[in-house]
Subunit: 211 residues, 2 copies
């Protein structure tokens, strides 16, 4: 097929792979991530030093239910975020502990942050959160069959409020106002892909206007 | 409205705001980001040290056109990514230079990486890429009216191939295989929101199956 923008040989990407020298060095050690440096060389003989943020795996939980009126709802949180220095509205999320299964971490974070359990917890996608400089993966779980079983049990510096918001309102407003965390846009994207398989997850009055 | 998951006072989030001591310290200086540390205190008297990755603003360009057969297409790139240590398929993207307008950066990166210009370049959204530890913003532009005007003009360590892919194929596969960069899921989410306003950007044979 004629591709007016074609450059290089994208069907055979092996020539793009940079090899590292196997000597990854710790450059900075921090509480939620480290920074490492590694030397790499390209197939055409270029070399460079590249830095990476090393963090545990991340999980995000998308807690979904229908309320008393039958409306599809998400359980969400509000908390101060130290990167943006603002209060943002997000799905429950956290770090996977050493040796912990990401799905177990998802159930744990959901319980700790919202006091709720899910009958069904399914991974609907995972991705490199930023392939340019992150070495970990971010996992996304859809949580269904929710029941509120206990009080919050937060980490020492965690402070967050919990609320329910209609699914359609979140999808309409994602990426604006308080919905200002890129990880939640990744969650929304995976959720929308899931909705293509299970339209019943949404309340869309007009098919033409849905995202 | 009855909210079975309500905790705290999410309609009045001021109690969640942590104040910093104004003494942000440089912890590590690197080629594409720095790491800073700051002390913050909560409204209920807790204190902590928090680290942040400081990077320039980011831009991502979504180059859109209709091919000779009338099919909606994206121009995309393949490159080795030093965070994931894999070759990924992405939209053109890059860093905003000091004092540069993000829209100017978007046009510049599109030209440098793909050799193309756009008649119309519109910001369709921006977001904190990771409000937990990133202090910058990520801007997303839809580029239309594309014309190929010159050869690539890449940075010394950049090496990337360019190709065109049907919009529906990208949206179907995003977050799988080579489409493995979370920033591109943010781009897809903003693009889908734009499609809710302008359905003509997509080729969707069956409304029920679209994301």
């Amino acid at each position: 097929m004629n591709d007016p923008f074609l450059m290089g040989d994208p069907l055979h990407p092996d020539h793009l792979v940079w090899k590292d020298d196997g000597q990854e060095k710790l450059a900075w050690h921090g509480p939620i991530f480290d920074v490492t440096l590694v030397k790499r060389s390209s197939t055409d003989g270029r070399t460079g030093d590249f830095c990476r943020v090393e963090s545990p795996e991340w999980i995000t939980v998308i807690p979904w239910y229908r309320n008393e009126e039958g409306k599809a709802m998400f359980v969400m949180e509000q908390q101060f975020r130290h990167g943006s220095a603002t209060v943002t509205r997000e799905f429950p999320a956290g770090l996977v502990e050493k040796g912990e299964d990401p799905k177990v971490a998802a159930a744990r974070e959901l319980l700790e942050e919202t006091g709720s359990k899910a009958e069904k917890l399914e991974e609907i996608g995972n991705v490199s959160p930023n392939s340019a400089f992150m070495g970990n993966r971010s996992h996304f779980y859809l949580a269904e069959g929710l029941s509120h079983v206990e009080r919050q049990n937060l980490d020492p510096n965690e402070q967050l409020d919990v609320l329910s918001i209609p699914v359609e309102e979140v999808l309409r407003d994602i990426g604006t106002g308080m919905y200002d965390n890129g990880i939640m846009l990744m969650a929304a994207c995976f959720f929308l892909k899931e909705c293509a398989k299970r339209p019943g997850l949404r309340d869309v009055p007009d098919e033409r206007s849905r995202i």
